[in-house]
Symmetry: C2
C-alpha cells in the first residue's frame, strides 16, 4: 500500500487490526487507538539499545504486574511475529516519542530513519484488554462514558530495581460499588498478562495516593458516594523507570497511540 | 462399634473422617468439629418434613450464596451416600437441636428415636472449607488464633423468599490488609459450593451492619488499623428463614457441631 496523500479521506475497516496497521503504516492515521480493532490486544511499546535491553528485561520480570511483557523482538529486528505476521514496529504505531538521555526530543509518525541494528523492542500488555472483559460482564466504567481513561497515580510503593531501571509503582484507579469491585477483581484475575488482579483496594492514602493529584493529570479520578476505589498496576510504571535510567536513546509509543496486534483480548485470559 | 461407656478415654485418628463419624455414632464424642478431619468438608444440616422440603429446596436454589446445597436425602432415608458411604444422619452428628413450630425444644446427641419416614435431610456447605484454602495460601485468620470464628452479622439485604421461608441475609466478616483481601476474593471465588466470593467489601453500614453488634454474639468482629472488612454470605441464613417459617418439626446440627463428610475441601474448588 502506498502512502496516502494528506487530506484524503481514507475508508477502512476499523474492526480489522491488519487494516488498521496498514493505514497507520502508510501515514493515513495518526490518532488515538482506543476505538480501533475492538477485541484485539493493544500494547505499550519501549524500544531500547541492546546494551540496555538485558536490564530492562530483568526489570519487567521483577515487576510483572506493571510490566507484563507480551513480546520482545530479536536485536535489530523490527518485526514482532508473535503479535502479528506483517507487523513492522518502525511504521505501525500512529505516533512515537523519541527520548535522548531520558529527555523527550520529538514526536514522529514513522521511525524508519531512526532505526538502528542494535535496537530491541519490548511490547507490554495494556489494561484496555481487561476493561473490555469488564464491560462484557456488565460493569460500568464511567470514565469511558466521559471519553476519558482511568485515573493514573504515583504510589509510595517502590518497584524492584534492575540495573539502572528503578522508580515508584504507578497505578490506575477505577471506582465501583462494592459488589462490582469484587466482580472486577475476579475478572482481572483472569488476565495476568495485562496487569492482572488489583494491587490495592480502599484507602488511597495507605499507598501514598491523593485521588485529587493525578500523574500528569491523566484520566478520571472520580469516586462517587457508595463506591470503593480499586487500584491496578499501570503500564506507565516502566516509562518512569526508563526516564530515571536515562538511556542515551529510547523510543516509545505516544500516549494513547498504541500498537494494535492480531491477538484477541480473550486469548490472554487464563481461565 | 458398640456404645462407649461414659468416662472411658477413646483413642481414635482425628485426621480420618470415617473414624470420627464412627466415634460420634457410638456416643464417644459430642464436642465441636472444627479441629477434626482437617481437609474434609463439614456440612450444615437441616432436616424437615417432606411437606416443607420442596419450598426449602427452592429457597436454597434462590439463595445459593448463603445456602449452598451439597446434598439432599431421599424422603425418609437417613443416608447421604454422596457425602460418605457409611453416613447415617440419625447418629453421625455430635449434637443436634430439635425445634417445634420454630422454637428450640431440646439438644440431643442421637435422633434415632425422633426419626420419621417423612423426614428429608439437607446438607449445606460451610466456610470452613474456604478458610482452609486461605490458610494454605498464607493468609492470616486472626480469629482462629484466638480460637474463635468469623464474626456473624444480620444485614439489611433480604433473601429471595420461597413459600414460608424468608428473612435477612446473614454474613460472616473477615478483616484483611487490602492486598490480602484481594487474594481472599480470588481464593473464595474458587468455592461456589461453600458460599463463594464475598457479597460485600468495605463500608459495613451500606449493608446495614454495625460491626460491634454480632448476631447472637457469634465470632470475632475485630478490624485492625489498615485492614478492610470483607463479608461473605453465611450458612446461618437458612436457620433464620426456618425460624421465620415455623415448621411443626425441624432438626439442625448444634452450632459448631457439624456433619463430617468424606469429601475433600479441595474437591469443591472449581478452578
Amino acid at each position: 500500500m502506498s502512502a496516502i496523500p494528506p487530506g484524503n479521506v481514507v475508508t477502512w475497516d476499523r474492526t480489522d487490526p491488519r487494516a488498521a496497521r496498514c493505514v497507520i503504516r502508510s501515514g493515513g492515521y495518526t490518532g488515538y487507538t482506543a476505538a480501533i480493532a475492538a477485541g484485539y490486544v493493544q500494547a505499550n511499546i519501549c524500544i531500547l539499545p541492546r546494551d540496555w535491553s538485558a536490564d530492562f528485561l530483568l526489570y519487567c520480570q521483577r515487576n510483572s504486574k506493571p510490566c507484563p511483557l507480551i513480546a520482545r523482538s530479536d536485536v535489530g529486528d523490527p518485526r514482532l511475529p508473535t503479535l502479528a505476521e506483517d507487523l513492522d514496529i518502525r511504521t505501525d504505531i500512529p505516533r512515537y516519542h523519541i527520548f535522548c538521555d531520558g529527555e523527550f526530543t520529538e514526536e514522529v509518525s514513522d521511525i524508519s530513519s531512526h532505526w538502528r541494528d542494535d535496537l530491541v523492542t519490548f511490547a507490554l500488555g495494556c489494561s484496555f484488554s481487561f476493561e473490555e472483559a469488564m464491560l462484557e460482564a456488565g460493569l460500568r466504567l464511567k470514565f469511558l462514558e466521559r471519553n476519558s481513561v482511568a485515573g493514573v497515580y504515583v504510589t509510595n510503593i517502590d518497584t524492584v530495581p534492575a540495573g539502572p531501571f528503578r522508580g515508584p509503582l504507578l497505578v490506575t484507579m477505577r471506582a465501583f460499588k462494592p459488589a462490582d469491585a469484587i466482580r472486577a477483581i475476579q475478572i482481572t484475575s483472569r488476565f495476568p498478562n495485562v496487569h492482572g488482579a488489583p494491587v490495592h483496594i480502599g484507602d488511597p492514602a495507605s499507598i501514598g495516593v491523593d485521588l485529587s493529584r493525578r500523574y500528569q493529570n491523566v484520566g478520571d479520578g472520580e469516586v462517587a458516594a457508595g463506591e470503593i476505589p480499586v487500584f491496578w498496576a499501570c503500564g506507565l510504571t516502566p516509562q518512569l523507570a526508563v526516564k530515571s535510567a536515562k538511556p542515551p536513546f529510547c523510543i516509545t509509543h505516544a500516549p494513547s497511540s498504541m500498537l494494535i496486534t492480531d491477538l484477541r483480548n480473550a486469548s490472554l485470559a487464563v481461565l
